[in-house]
Symmetry: C3
Subunit: 352 residues, 3 copies
């Protein structure tokens, strides 16, 4: 007989460059997850709201929004990669593949690209990984790298410092073709009229007017993603050693403000997007806690053609998330999220 | 380069009598929205709980309850009509059309019937509109008028005072026919035995015994309806100028107590209803905030035949919602909701 | 005209041994209920997460986890049996039948086995019942007995003390056959590698490392089960007479910690279970309130063969739930849940 403390997840000293994790579970996208999460995020793109519209565009049905695809694939990697993380440092080269639909099953795997012990703190280090998610047909839906600050299991342990190059992951957006016979113009009233490719000017900054307070509902939402990181749900653990945790309280999973910022921006930037193409880099620049109201703004950096698709263009943007300190406090506006975001946007010439 | 503050919704000075808004997005009724919202409302009618029962009655599947149809269609009109409203004043002549099922896509449009500047407050006025929702086959699922108190964008602006008559909107409940060969009696144990048409007496007041506290879950629920009104979700905005907002805190979207009152009453009044027919008038008589427990009662006003359907009758009722002030406070019972409600109810003679 | 206070549920003096209740409503398992509840519970078994996996095993689709089957069938019995209960005392001989799938409609009935007035408190007594749930094809999905402490309607009333024997309810798990041609090994990375039958030793105690705080989200979750017991949702009622209610506050429905304990244990005990077979006895040993963080551990009692299935074995366990008192308080660790649980677990020899 033995009392066995079952531990999940890996620590810094467990990772080795080149190591591959095929993550557990997988997740089938139900109408429950889709509805709760998509609506929570305040996404307004009709492709994710209106099946009649999505089908008329040639999609198989409503399209799972990019932020939810990200949150599901990312969360599958949490147990192996970041269940024992202190902080998620950076998203790198996140590229989207084929559309994800209701009923699809997503599974993911991660390769460890590098491991580095901290030179300042013997209890910590940084792991750099590459995670790829695919659907039940083996098509890539998302691939990205990220850097995570992870605790060591044993401060004395040797860390397998080193690195391997990222794997080549070919991805294709798999967008439906433009068909002049489709009733695009009859549906044009369903999306924002001022968010076609022709409407954007490099250098403009769009301040999105809506805000949304995060409540303790973040715990339920994070659970719906199967994200098992304890810093989002284990109040007792935090209360034992608040000084060990960012902010000394339950921290909101980054996927929550990530999705909220995408959603808050959508009526002004992405209502006529057919897809998000790539997030070159992204990071959570300050923590979010229950009670914070999240806002977003978008900086238009550049506009470019999408080869082979004269009906579409690519918008290079930076999506910023922010919150405010308490009224009257010196804190003022605090940036919480930074994302270099490339979107594939319809041209008015072809659609409206 | 420019910093552009993107604003959504219209202000009093933007509305003109006769103006038509075809609302954006539309919404497909997923099993996620259906389950979360129907169950939250505490509806007990098996038509919205039990697919076996609903199909045996000749419906295509479980029926989306009237309150949810209302909340979805109404919320589609919020961005254009009431995103910048101070208060929703009245629902008028709300009539239900064909049943709404899982997978249906609802879209809506609104005609402005009248615009009136306030004679007392130069920053406010009242807009009277008519909103109609239809499904993917173009069938009307709901039509109603409402009056909303809306802020002016510019207190100095001229308001297009005036009015146009409401449009004629033919609606049909589209109920399945009564078929003696169907196993109605074998299913009778699944609904309340004392809520057939024969059980009601004009003048009776039924006090529904259940209550349900509203928590901050109202924010998630309101988001699930795509209702973008900021007074329900933007805590920071409220905190900047609490004196400008009713109660100085986030106010619960009226669709929440509306649905809760319908649900709390259903076991006693609507368990054997096949449909809600019409709400002649309705209003939110006091605000609801997180922490309030909502209760309901129903006054039976009259009973009448439904032409062509000897198996059914129409119940004219008034549905009252209420809450209580803090224990020991003078406030006592506070009416929060008033709805003149007509239901189509089964006769025991035909069904049990 | 009359004012009628509609009351739901029965009181001790209403029950008679041998009485049968065919419960109202029934419930169709939507993707909404499934997703919200399954994910909330933190279940990790891929049979309830991944449709590709479940189908490859020969199931019709994702399997509704045992805790949710329990919570749905149990909740259907609440109005008739325990809407006016003070406490749920014990679950007895809970046996699971055929798998439950998305779209199934569950209905339930209850037989009163015994009624006993309290010898100490004239306002209370205990009812012992047997509840059985079946699907739309009449197959049993669950049967169990429970004992409930119920208030009397009238302290002076005579109680129909007495008992009848439980009914014989044949149940069959209806598990898919083992087929060597199925790709079990190709899917093995999707479940925990250390939870096959061969991995367990009698006497071991597994402390599950994850915890989850219960927030006011318990009210929404309980509503999703159609559980109408007022002590979980009627804040105003509690505030009027806190001394009458356990803890003087809204109490979390037992189905919530029940599911959470099953879920928290699953990665360590049930990730390779094909079904839960039987819960011999179970009880909530302390109340749970919003703010409590729930933890679980599992004691391995015995391992035995499953007749006719050399690919599977039966694990006899005790699942314990616990929470902690406030930091620094003398309370320390408090047991909240005890469940004698028998699981049907895959053998590594056949599956990995």
């Amino acid at each position: 007989m033995a009392v066995i403390r079952k531990q999940h997840g890996h620590f810094l000293d467990d990772f080795r460059p080149g190591q591959v994790f095929r993550h557990k579970r997988g997740k089938t996208i139900t109408e429950g997850l889709f509805a709760v999460f998509t609506d929570f995020s305040m996404t307004t793109n009709p492709l994710s709201k209106n099946a009649r519209y999505a089908k008329a565009y040639g999609f198989r049905g409503m399209v799972v929004p990019p932020g939810l695809v990200m949150a599901v694939v990312f969360s599958q990697s949490v147990e192996d990669v970041s269940e024992n993380a202190r902080a998620n440092l950076e998203y790198i080269d996140m590229r989207f593949g084929v559309p994800v639909y209701l009923g699809d099953t997503l599974e993911a795997e991660t390769t460890v690209l590098s491991v580095r012990a901290s030179t300042r703190d013997p209890t910590l280090g940084v792991v750099h990984v590459q995670t790829t998610g695919h659907n039940q047909d083996g098509q890539v839906v998302l691939t990205f790298q990220r850097k995570v600050q992870v605790w060591k299991r044993d401060p004395q342990a040797t860390v397998a410092d080193g690195e391997v190059p990222p794997r080549e992951i070919p991805v294709s957006l798999g967008l439906p073709a433009y068909e002049p016979s489709r009733p695009y113009r009859d549906l044009a009233h369903l999306s924002s009229p001022d968010t076609y490719f022709e409407d954007f000017r490099p250098g403009d900054v769009l301040e999105h007017s809506r805000g949304r307070v995060v409540t303790t509902d973040h715990i339920l939402l994070t659970g719906m993603l199967d994200n098992t990181s304890q810093v989002h749900s284990n109040q007792w653990m935090i209360d034992q050693q608040p000084e060990r945790y960012v902010g000394g309280q339950l921290i909101v999973f980054g996927g929550i403000p990530f999705n909220l910022c995408l959603g808050l921006s959508s009526a002004d930037v992405a209502d006529n997007a057919l897809a998000d193409l790539r997030y070159a880099t992204g990071r959570h620049t300050a923590p979010v806690f229950a009670g914070d109201t999240v806002f977003a703004s978008t900086e238009i950096r550049a506009l470019r053609d999408l080869p082979g698709r004269p009906d579409l263009g690519v918008l290079d943007t930076v999506l910023h998330g922010h919150k405010f300190g308490p009224k009257g406090a010196a804190a003022g506006k605090v940036e919480i999220f930074y994302l270099e975001r490339e979107l594939v946007v319809k041209r008015r010439s072809h659609y409206a």
